[in-house]
Structures are given as C-alpha cells and as structure tokens.
Amino acid sequence: MLLTWLWLAPAAAMLVVWALPSRRLSRAAALAVSAGVLAYSLWLLAPYAAGEGLLRLEESGRAGPLGIRYHLAVDGIALPLCWLTALLSALSIAASWKADVPNAFWASFLGLESALMGVFLSRDLFYFFIFWDMALVPMFFIIGLWGSEGRRKAALKFALYTFLGSLSLLIGLAALATFHHGATGVWTWDMGELTRTPVMGRAAIWIYAALALGFAVKIPVFPLHNWLPDAHTEAPAAGSVMLAGSMLKMGLFGFLRILLPVFPELSAAALPFLGGLGVVNILYGAFCAMAQSDLKRLVAFTSVSHLGFCLVGIFSLTAAGIAGGSLQMLNHGLSTGGLFLLVGMLYERAHRRGLSDFGALASRTPVFAFFFCFILLSSIGLPGLNGFVGEMLSLAGMAQVSRLLAALGLLGAVLAAAWGLPAFQAVFWAPPGTDSVSDKIADLDLRERAILWVLLVLILWIGLYPRPLLELMEPAVSALAQR
C-alpha cells in the first residue's frame, strides 16, 4: 500500500479541498497536502534510491480475466520524475498564494498531481492509460478557467490535440495486448510480461506507430506541437509550471517505459527518424523562441527545444544518451518550471508579458534579476548548471551513433544563447520603453525567494555533482540501452 498512497493521497485531498468552506482554508490545506506528499515521497523512496532495492518496492493486485492487474512499481527513471512532480506541485501551489481563485483551483492541482504520480508509477498499461487521460481533465480546467485572455481557445485546442493522442494510444495499447495474446495465448497488460515476448511483423509496425503518435502529441514532437505555445501562454503561472514541469514528461516516459523495452528492434529502426525529429524539435523550438515578443510564449518554445534534447538522448539508444535524456527531463522541469514561476511573478505584479513592456529591471529589482539570470543560464545550458549535464550526456550518447545529429543538436546550444540573452537584456538591461511598467514592479518578497532558492540549490547541485542521480538511473537505463 506504500506506493498507492502516492497517488491516492492527493486524489482524496482533492475532494476534501474542493468541499472546504473558506478559500484560505482550502489553499492552506492544498499546500499542506502537497508538501506532505513531497516529504512522504522523499522519505519513502530515498532509502531505496541508493541500492538495487528499487524494484522490490512493488504492489500488485490480482489479475482480472482481462489480464489487467493493479500493479505499481518504481524504477530509476520513474523515481526522479515522482520527486519532480511532488516538488513542482508544492512550489506551484506556494507560488500562486496570492491568486484570488476558488477552491476548485487548488483541487485541480492536487488532482493533476495524483494523476501524474499514477502515470509514473503504474506498470500496468490499462491503469497507465487511465491515469494518462485523467491528467488531462484538471489541466483543461486550469487553462480554461484561470488562464489569461485567450484561455478558451487554448484550452479547447489543448483538449483536442491531447484527446487525439490518447485515442491513438488507446487503440495502440489494446492492439498490443491482443497481438501479445495472439502470440502467446496469455492476456496480460503488464509491462514486465509484454517485454518478454518479442513483437514482430507488420502489425507490430502499426501498433508502434499508433503508440508513438499517442506519445508524440504529448511531448510534443515537431508537427504536433501547435497546442503547446497557446496552452503555456494562456495557462496561469502555476499551471504552466506543472504543464511544462511534469506533464510534458508523460510522453517521453511512455517512450522509455513502453516503446523502447517492448519494441527494441523497431526503436532501433526508427532511430534516424525519431532522432532526426528530436533535432528538428531542438532547432525549431530555438528559432521560434528567438522571434517571440511575448516572454511566456518564448519560454514555451524553449520547452520544445529542451524536449528535443531529451528525444535525441533517448533515441540514441546508448546508455549515456538515455541517461542524459531522462536527466534532461528532470532538468527541464526545474529550469523551465523556474522560468515560468519568474514570469508568473512578473505577470502577477504588472499583468503584462511583453518583452518591451519592461526595462532596466536590473537596477530596480536586483534580486529578481539575479534569480532570472541564474535560472535562464541553467536553461541555456551553461556548464556547471544542470541544463548542461543533460544536454551534454544526450548529445554525447547520440554522438556515439550518428555524429551529424549530435552536431546539429549542438547547434541548438548556440541558438539557446541567441534566444536567451536578448530576452534577458530586453527585460533587465535595456532602458524602459515608452509604455513600460517597470516602475510598478516591486522586488521579490520572502516567500518567492524561498521558492526560488529551492530551485537554485537543486540546479547547482545537479550541475556540479550529478553522479548520485545518474547512478540511481543506471540499472533502468542499462536495461534499455542497446549499445
């Protein structure tokens, strides 16, 4: 029952928080619960993180006739993501402390957290899918109800794209189970068993394509990314932190957890295609980010670029690459989550997001400038901070396979400087423009500084000493790596 509490506690708390009479009470309860879940996840999983003991921490119920079994487990790749989700939920709730929103706002965050925990923990494809779709409903309401001006259109587009993806995922999963039954005569949805029997033949390609499409919409991969900028820009700050922080990782997690182990040869065959798409993601995200005039939309496109690095890493199918990819998932959560928090704080004060709306903030709000510069550098991939470790490992992994893709991926690092620094300079260094609101912006208060210091310490720690995390991922990664 230990693992079940990770997703059951926030789900139960969601109902309680929603029903509480006063808004302040429900806000406090939400923060308490999310902090509790974070502490619990750290306490529960930390001792196991050290040794091989991870897979022993498993729970599974009786297998029903359909072969569906309630089966939770955690391994090297899922563990950091659980921590990340718990951390970001707590931080985003703390960050939107001053927002005047109904109880449902806090309840949907807890619902989102429980669904994400479910996705990262479940080893059974059916429950994986249930949690996968359950994560979309709260996010739809977060974007739709409490977003900024264009929220309705963004919420609808978000819903349309993600449901298209999840439908393709449903078909793929069901077909995979039937195919597996055809091959072995056993009905099972458990990832462990599915990996044992190789899936071959033409049908496997169709199943692989359906699953890949389902995951690709969520990452998002280049052609299917159109929902991301609108969803991120219109979502409230805390919403985009959760969306960028952990929701985008569901797709990559799906690749790592389902496609790579169950279809090793097909993944190897798809390497140039999907690796190439990863590189396209990197460059396309960077180019679009360069041309944005809205700060939040710029950060949204950088997510596309960062996840491109994850994709390149994962689809290099080398131990270094996959370790880099999964580490970059974590880093992206921290740095882009941090950036969204900062932009949220800016929006909270001035209700404006344009690059030209601010100016010379470095002199007015030096603390804010320091945090923004630090987290932006981590997002650009400055060595010594966490972004660099993920990108370097992913590209080094890909370099072992195809030097061209690695070189093009590295080009993304140059473009990162091209979108990062001008944005920083426009907001903090350039003199205030005509309609600038810089004079209205006060510096960060204690609460905001505490939140950002947490992120700062993590970013610096992973940057300077990533070894414990990499050793944590080692068993799960070497299982997937093919070279």
Partner: protein, 622 residues
C-alpha cells in the same frame, strides 16, 4: 603536503572570497568588497609561485602533479572525473595570470571607486578570476570546458557591466554568442574523444591516441582549433574582441588582453600531442595565425580609438602565438603569452589612466580617441613613461621582454625554413611596432593642429592606480629573463638567440618605429589627411575587410528566418489546419441536417426506402 594545500588555496581562496563577498560584503559593506578579493588574489599568487618554484627545482616528480577530486558523472561505458593537474605549462601561465590579476584588482579598486555598482563589479571580476584559475589547472577536457564557458559568462557580464549603454549590451551578446560557437566546436571535439576513448583526462587521452581512427583525430584536432580560435579571437571569429572594449578598462586590461583571450592558446598548447598527430591542422593554424596577425596590425594602424588600437594589437599578438603553435614551437608561444600578458596589461592600464584622468573633461565618454588626446606626456609623466616601456617591449626592442619572446617565435618560424613565412612574420613584427608607436606619438608627444578635443588638462591618477602601472612596467622590462625557467619548467631545451634572427627582428622593429615617427611627428596632419583622401579605404579597414558587416548581415538573416518561422508558418498553417479540420465536420453535419427537416412523410419515406435497400442487399447477396 605543502603542494596539496597550495593547490587547495588555488580553488578555495577565490571561492571563499566570492561567497564572502556575495553573502556578507554585498549587503553590509558594498564599498569594501574588493578587500576579500585582493586577499584571495594574493593567496593564489603566492601559491602559484610556490608551486612554480617546486616544479622548477624538480621537487615534484615528473614535473606534474595530479589529483582526482571526485567522480562527476558516470554514464554507460565511460566515467568523467573532476580533478586538478599542475604541470609546467599550467603553472607558468597561472603565475602570470595571478600576478597580473592581483595588480589589476588593485588598479580596479581605484578606477571603479566612484562607480555606483562597485560591489557587483568585483563579484563578476573575481568570478572571472576563479573560472580562469579553474580552467588553467583542470585535468580533463570536460572540466576545462565548464570553466571555459564560465569565463565566457564572466566576459558577457563584465562587457555589459554598464548596461545602460546600447553598444555595451550589443557587444556583450555578440561576445557570448561568438564564444558559444567556438565552445560548441570544442564540445563536439570532446564528444569525439569520449566516443573513441571513453575518457577525457589529458594524460589518458594523450597515451591512448593511437586507438583513435585518423578521421576522428583530424576532426577532433580541427574542432579544438576552432574552439581556441573563437576564444583567442583568431580571424573568422575575432569580431567580438574590438566591441568588447565597451567594458570598463580594468576588464579590457585583465580579460581581453592578458588572460582570457590567451585561454585559446593555452588550450592549443595543452592539446599539443593531439595537434602534432595531425600536421594539416598545424599548418592551418600557422596560416590563420599569420593572416590574423597581419590583418589586425593593418587595421590597428588605422584605428583612432585608443582601446580599439590596443584590441587589434592583442589580436595581432595572439596571431603570432598561434603562428608559433602552428610551427610546433610550444615554448615560443607560451613565452610570448606570458610576456604579452605583462606589457599588454600595462598598455591597457595606461590607456585607462588616460581615460580616467580626462574623464570629467570628456562629459562621461568611456573612451578616448587619438584626436581628443595629444601632448599628454607633460600632464601624465608617469603614465607616458610606462606606456613608452610597454611600447618598446611590445615591438621587441632588445633589453625588454618582448624581444626575447618574439625572437623565440621568429626562431621557430625561421626553423621551418620557408622564406615567405619568415618574411611575413618579420613584417608582422614591424607592423606591431608601427601601430604602437603611432599611438604613442599621437597621444603623448606632439600636439597637433587638428586636435578637436579640449587641450587636455588631465591630472595624474591616484596612488592606487599608479602602483600597479609601475609594477607592471618593471615586469615588462624584466620578464625577458624568464625564458630559461619557463623552458626548464616546460621541459623544452633552453632558447638560443641566433644572431641573424635577432638582428633581423630588431631591424624590422626599428623600421616600424621610424615609419611611425615619420608618419606622425614629422608630418603632423598626415594621419588626418589620408583619411579624408581615401574614404573607401578607411571604410574597408574600419569594417575589418568587410567581415564585421558580413557577420551582422548573417545575424539579421537568422533572426529574419526565425521571425518568418514563428510568425506566418506557426500562426497561419497550423492554426488554420486545426480550424479547417473542425469546420469540415460541422459542415458535414449541416449537410446531413437537410434530411431531417421535420416532415413526417419524408421520415417514413426514408424508413421504407432504407428497409427496402437492406432487404434487397441481403436477399441478393445471400
């Protein structure tokens, strides 16, 4: 044991100074932040000198001392450990860097005294110093790369220190972007090494070089050279250095003259074993070094802004060092690197003193052009004296340091035996003495009719700025004698001054000085006159033979492509696609609603027709 704690201070002194400065001095004594920084610089200098003496006297076995601190990351088959490597090469350069940094820290304390964000300046300044020290003593490529970009970041922050100025912001971003291009090449080289050997430690890499395939080796060597070329402002990627002069003068002195820009040459010197495996890259390095040196000398001779001339002079001297590396003369390059560190820093400090002293009279302009200044030697005797010593050293007049290091380089070039290379090298030497003495004459000696600026009533800068200038003057003069110790520390044979080469060098230097004297003092209006006579020649030279405008056009093109991609492509095609998809289904619905318009008879008609259709298909088909 002593060595361990000496190496320890190399890292802990700057780190503790920074932490102290950030958490303690910034909130409480912002005007005093330079004290911890000075202390740490002094500590590092003492430690490096102690280590240098240890290595020089052979008390450290094998001339190099390596310690692996901790395992940074492990992924798949290879491990990356962070550690410290102190050998002849690193300690000699570190000695110069720490010494020059200490002096410039003192100078900066005086120069930046009235600046409002004094504390922020020193935090950035010392962060640079930490990164530079880290870069010099790291024992593997990855750790070197971490500090390599740290130095890049420090230069970005310091160039853009006065961020109110538009030019400073643009220069900072340009510097960081160009450096990033070089860093990416460096990183790709590291990937190739990791892929081939699974490790990036210098000692291991150099031992297992034969394991690498020749194509990987050439690619790695070439990419390393690109990385170094960006940092040391060689021809294709030098565009950022002249603009970097927007930063405060101590920054230009320390980073863009003495230490940071030499990091590229240091990287080439460090990876000499790899370069020696690939003769093609060495030849390319020599060619590019020479080309840069000559081009920069020509442009430097024409510039009017004091600091721009010195910037191009740095590019030219770096070209010479790369030429030395290209001819396989490691000792020449390192010796020139060290001596150049001293006299170029001195030149910049003198320029700084000139700017500082004329500051109030020039309404806040942060730089002085040759036209504003003139005949300053009377008001600034000390500065002009020091400038003269540094100029003599730069052009390579015998007793001073420049002569010995430039001679070492010329020895190497003559040793290659190619006549054309030697002549061009001599020409470069002549050029360097021409532009420095032109600057000397125009700024300090004769006053000229076309002088636009106010008759300068500068006053000698304060004590804190004069001491470093004098100290550096002494070093510029005495550094020549460091030849043997450096050679011994590097493990190379002692330099021998062949009469022919030194005479030719001295002759060309003298020629340059005379030409400068002829062009400025004897015909006072000439410098001004030819500019109006050939405006297009001035424009070409001003534009780095058209290279500056080309890179600007390239940047605009990339930004335009991005705007095209993000604007019409993202908005129109994708949004339109999703809307169209939705509209088609709603349209289908409208069409179908034609059949259900409420008439009972129609309903019944469609029912009966449907039943008949079903019946006919079932009956006929089965």
């Amino acid at each position: 044991m002593m060595n361990a704690c000496a190496v320890g201070t190399l890292f802990f002194a700057p780190v503790s100074a920074l932490l102290l400065g950030f958490f303690v001095f910034r909130p409480y004594w912002p005007r005093k932040t330079h004290w911890p920084m000075l202390a740490s610089c002094a500590a590092v200098t003492v430690a490096s000198i102690h280590l240098a003496v240890q290595i020089h006297d052979g008390r450290i076995a094998g001339g190099s001392w390596e310690l692996t601190a901790y395992r940074w990351a492990c992924a798949g088959s290879w491990r990356v450990d962070f550690g410290v490597l102190v050998d002849g090469l690193s300690i000699s350069v570190l000695g110069m860097v720490s010494l020059v940094s200490t002096l410039i820290h003192v100078y900066a304390a005086g120069y930046m005294a009235e600046d409002p964000s004094f504390c922020r300046f020193f935090l950035y300044f010392h962060f640079f110093f930490l990164s530079m020290v880290g870069l010099l003593v790291s024992n593997n490529y990855l750790q070197m790369y971490v500090f390599w970009e740290g130095v890049g970041l420090a230069s970005y922050l310091l160039i853009g220190f006065w961020y109110e100025k538009e030019a400073a912001r643009a220069a900072a971003w340009k510097a960081f972007l160009t450096n990033r291009i070089g860093d990416v090449a460096f990183m790709l080289a590291v990937f190739l090494l990791l892929r081939g050997l699974g490790t990036a430690r210098f000692s291991e890499v150099f031992q297992r070089l034969p394991e690498l395939s020749s194509s990987t080796l050439t690619a790695a060597a070439f990419l390393l050279f690109c990385g170094a070329a960006a940092k040391s402002a060689q021809f294709p990627l030098h565009v950022w250095l002249p603009d970097a002069m927007e930063g405060p003068t101590p920054v230009s002195a320390l980073m863009h003259a003495a230490t940071m820009v030499t990091a590229g040459v240091f990287l080439l010197a460090r990876s000499m074993p790899i370069l020696e495996e690939v003769p093609g890259v060495l030849a390319a390095a020599a060619l590019i070094g020479l080309l840069t040196s000559l081009g920069a000398a020509a442009i430097g001779a024409m510039k009017r802004d004091l600091k721009r001339v010195l910037a191009y002079s740095t590019i030219s001297q770096l070209g010479l060092m790369v030429l030395a590396i290209g001819t396989g003369n490691l000792f020449g390059a390192v010796f020139q690197l060290i001596t150049h560190g001293f006299f170029k820093a001195l030149l910049f400090l003198c320029a700084g003193s000139v700017i500082y002293s004329m500051h109030d009279s020039l309404s806040g302009a942060t730089t002085v052009t040759v036209d504003d200044a003139g005949g300053l030697s009377k008001q600034l005797p000390v500065t002009s004296g020091a400038f003269l010593i540094a100029a003599l050293a730069l052009s390579g007049i015998p007793p001073l340091a420049g002569f010995f290091s430039k001679d070492a380089i010329l020895e190497g070039v003559f040793a290659t035996g190619s006549k054309a290379l030697s002549v061009l090298a001599l020409l470069a030497a002549a050029g360097s003495s021409f532009y420095i003495f032109r600057l000397l004459f125009l700024t300090f000696l004769g006053d000229r009719p076309e002088q636009r600026g106010p008759r300068a009533h500068a006053h000698e800068p304060g004590f804190r700025m004069k001491v470093p200038v004098l100290a550096l003057a002494v070093f510029s003069a005495a550094a020549g004698s460091l030849g043997e110790p450096i050679a011994k520390v590097l493990g190379k044979e002692a330099p021998h001054l062949s009469l022919v080469v030194s005479a030719a060098g001295f002759a060309f230097a003298g020629l340059g000085i005379l030409a400068a004297y002829w062009a400025t003092m004897l015909r006072p209006g000439f410098d001004w006159a030819w500019r109006r006579a050939q405006p297009e020649l001035e424009r070409i030279l001003d534009d780095d033979f058209g290279w500056q405008s080309f890179t600007a056009a390239l940047a605009r093109g990339v930004l335009g492509f991005a705007k095209l991609l993000a604007g019409p492509w993202e908005r129109k095609t994708w949004d339109a696609f999703t809307e169209a998809l939705a509209d088609t289904f709603v349209g289908l619905g409208e069409g179908l609603s034609f059949f259900s318009r409420g008439a009972l008879n129609d309903y019944l008609w469609w029912m009966i027709l449907g039943a008949a259709a079903l019946a006919s298909t079932v009956v006929l088909c089965f």
